[in-house]
Symmetry: C2
C-alpha cells in the first residue's frame, strides 16, 4: 500500500511520443502540497484512472480536447477525498470524483467535482459507473440501439467500455460477441461477464473465427479499437448495421498512414450498399445525461449484478507511466486504475 | 420526335462492363408487343429515367438489389401511358409511373404502378417528384438535418439529387454550396437553382476554392459522388457534421482499389474526433413515406418554384446507352431522361 506523502508527487509530460509512448516521455516530480485559498478545496487522490484517450492528450495534433503542454501534469480522472476545505459544500473526508490528473493533490473550486457519498467501491466511479461505463451506455443507447436477437460485437471486451457494451447487449436481448487478447480474457468475458462467445484476436484464424461466431452477420459493432479487428468486422456487417465509434486504440500510436491499397472508398461503399450508420461520439458532450439518465440505469444494473467490470489495480503513482504504456498494448486485464494513496 | 412502333424495342444487357460501360455492353433488340392477360395492363413508355445506380445493376457484385441478368432488358424507372387494360382501376391513356425498363412496352399487374393524373410535365415524376427528389428529401430529412446558418455541400449540384439538396438547404435556412463540372453548370446552380456558390471540380485549385467557400466548415455533406470531391471535403468537415451517403458515382467504374496509403483509419479517426455521422441509405427502403410525406412536402415546393430541376432530354430509346455512358462521365446537364415514345 503506497503511503500518502506530505509532498505532492506528480507525473509530468516531458516530451511528445513518436509512435508508442516510452518512459522517457514522462518525468516524476515532487512539489509542495498546495494550500487552498478562499472558496477552494484540496483533494487528495486515492485512485487514478488510466484510459486510452490520454494518448491523444500527449499529442499536439488537433483533436476534440486540448493537449497537455510539455512540463505540465498529465490529465486524468481521479477518485479522492477532500483533505482541506474552504467551502461549506465539501467536508474533509468526503469522497469525490474529480479530474485531478496524475498527482497526489489538486486544488478545486468545486466545479466539475461530483460527491460520491459512501460507495462500497469508490473506484467504480472511474469504471462501470464512470466515464467508460457512460461511454458504453451512450454509444449503445443513441447509436447502437441493439434489438432482441441481433448480434453485437465489441473489442477490448474485458475492458471497462467493452464489458459494459457486452452486458448491455445481453440486457437488451441481443447476442454479445466479444473480442479480446488471449485465452484468460476470453474465458473471463464468457464465464464472468456473460458474453455468448469471445474470440482471441491473436489467433491466426481470427477473421474466420469471428465469421463463424456471427453466422447472421453483425448488427452493431461498437468500435473502440480499429485496426485488424475492424478489418475482420467489415465484411460481416449486416444491412442496417450501426457502428458507434468511440475509440481507435489500434491507431493511437500510428505515425503515418499505413500502405495501400486505399480502402476509404471501400468503407464508404460498404456503408452505402448495406445502409450502415457509423458515428463518432465524444462522451464529454453528454454530461448533461450522466446523473439524470445514465446513473439511474447503471446503478441498479451494477447493484443487481447485471453489469460487472473487473478492475486491474496498479499500486503506486510512480508505476502509472509503465501501466499506461501497457494499456495501449492490451496488457491490462480489466479497468486499469492506479492506487495513488490510502483511503 | 421518335415514333411509337408496333414492335417492342428494347435495350438488353449483353455483357458486364469492366470499368466504364461501353456500347458493346448493350444490344438493341425488337420483339412483338406483349398482350396483357387477365388482370394485366400494357404500359407504353414515354420517358425513361437514366440514373447512376443502374451501373450497379450491370454488375454481378453483391449489392442491395439484384443484378440485371445477361440477355435481360435493362431496368429503369419510366413514365408512360396505359395502352391496353384488363383492369378496372387503369384506363387506356392513364399516365403512370412504372419500372418498365429500357423498352417501349411492359406488362404490369398494377403492383408498383402509380397513377400520375394530369401532370403538366409528367417527366417530373422521374426527377424532382420521383426517385431522385425523394432521395434528396430523405437524406436531408433523416440524416442531414440542416439547421439555419449551417453550410451544406453537395456535388453533382445540377443533377436531380444535388439540385433538390441545395434548394432544400435554402428552404431550411442553411447555406448551399454546390460542386459541379464546368462553368455552365456552376452558373446554372447559382443563378437558376439559388445555390450561394458553386465550385467547378475541374478547377486545378478546386480544394482551395471549396475551402474558401466554406469558411466555417461543412456541417452537412450530402454524398453522391465520392472521389476527389470527398477528398476535398474531408478536412473541412465540422464537429458534429452529418454525411448522408446515397451514391458514389466516382467509384462505380472502379475495377480495383486505388493505390495507398490506406485512408480507412484516417476516415474513421475524422468521424471520431469530429463526432461525425456518416450513414448510407437506399431510397427503396422508404417508399412508405413517398406519398404520405415526401409528395406532400415537395409538390408545393415545386408549384411555388422553390424547388426546380433542369431536364436533359435525349430523344430516342436507341440513344439510351450512349446517354447513360455519358451520365457516368458527368456529360448530362440536369436530370437525364430519354424520350422513348410520343405522348
Amino acid at each position: 500500500m503506497p503511503q500518502t506523502t506530505d509532498r505532492n508527487r506528480r507525473i509530468l509530460l516531458t516530451s511528445r511520443p513518436k509512435g508508442a509512448p516510452t518512459p522517457e516521455n514522462f518525468r516524476f516530480d515532487e512539489a509542495p502540497v498546495p494550500t487552498p485559498g478562499p472558496g477552494e478545496i484540496l483533494v487528495r487522490t486515492v485512485f487514478l484512472s488510466l484510459d486510452p484517450y490520454m494518448r491523444g492528450r500527449m499529442s499536439d495534433a488537433k483533436s476534440y480536447a486540448a493537449s497537455v503542454e510539455i512540463g505540465q501534469t498529465m490529465v486524468g480522472g481521479t477518485v479522492g477525498r477532500v483533505a482541506a476545505s474552504n467551502r461549506p459544500d465539501f467536508a474533509v473526508g468526503d469522497w469525490v470524483l474529480s479530474y485531478s490528473g496524475w498527482q497526489d493533490y489538486a486544488l478545486s473550486n468545486g466545479q466539475g467535482l461530483t460527491k460520491l457519498g459512501q460507495l462500497a467501491h469508490p473506484s467504480l466511479a472511474l469504471g462501470v459507473l464512470g466515464m467508460p461505463g457512460f461511454t458504453a451506455y451512450i454509444g449503445m443507447t443513441d447509436i447502437g440501439q441493439p434489438k432482441p436477437g441481433e448480434t453485437v460485437v465489441v473489442a477490448a471486451a474485458t475492458g471497462p467500455v467493452g464489458a459494459v457494451v457486452g452486458q448491455m447487449a445481453k440486457i437488451k436481448g441481443a447476442r454479445a460477441v466479444g473480442v479480446a487478447g488471449g485465452a484468460d480474457k476470453c474465458r473471463h468475458a464468457v464465464e464472468d461477464l456473460g458474453f455468448d462467445v469471445c474470440i482471441d484476436h491473436r489467433a491466426p484464424d481470427f477473421a474466420q473465427q469471428l465469421a463463424a461466431a456471427c453466422p447472421k452477420g453483425i448488427d452493431v459493432y461498437f468500435e473502440n479499437v480499429g485496426g485488424a479487428v475492424f478489418d475482420a468486422v467489415l465484411p460481416l456487417l449486416s444491412t442496417g448495421a450501426r457502428i458507434p465509434l468511440c475509440g481507435l486504440v489500434a491507431h493511437y500510436n500510428d505515425t503515418a498512414l499505413p500502405p495501400g491499397p486505399d480502402r476509404l472508398a471501400l468503407l464508404m461503399r460498404t456503408l452505402l450498399t448495406r445502409q450502415i450508420r457509423m458515428e463518432g461520439f465524444i462522451i464529454s458532450n453528454y454530461f448533461g445525461r450522466r446523473d439524470a439518465e445514465f446513473a439511474k440505469a447503471m446503478i441498479p444494473w451494477v447493484t443487481e449484478g447485471k453489469v460487472k467490470v473487473r478492475e486491474d489495480v496498479v499500486d503506486g503513482l510512480e508505476n502509472a507511466p509503465a501501466a499506461f504504456i501497457g494499456l495501449l498494448e492490451g496488457k491490462n486485464f480489466g479497468k486499469l486504475v492506479v492506487r495513488v494513496g490510502q483511503d
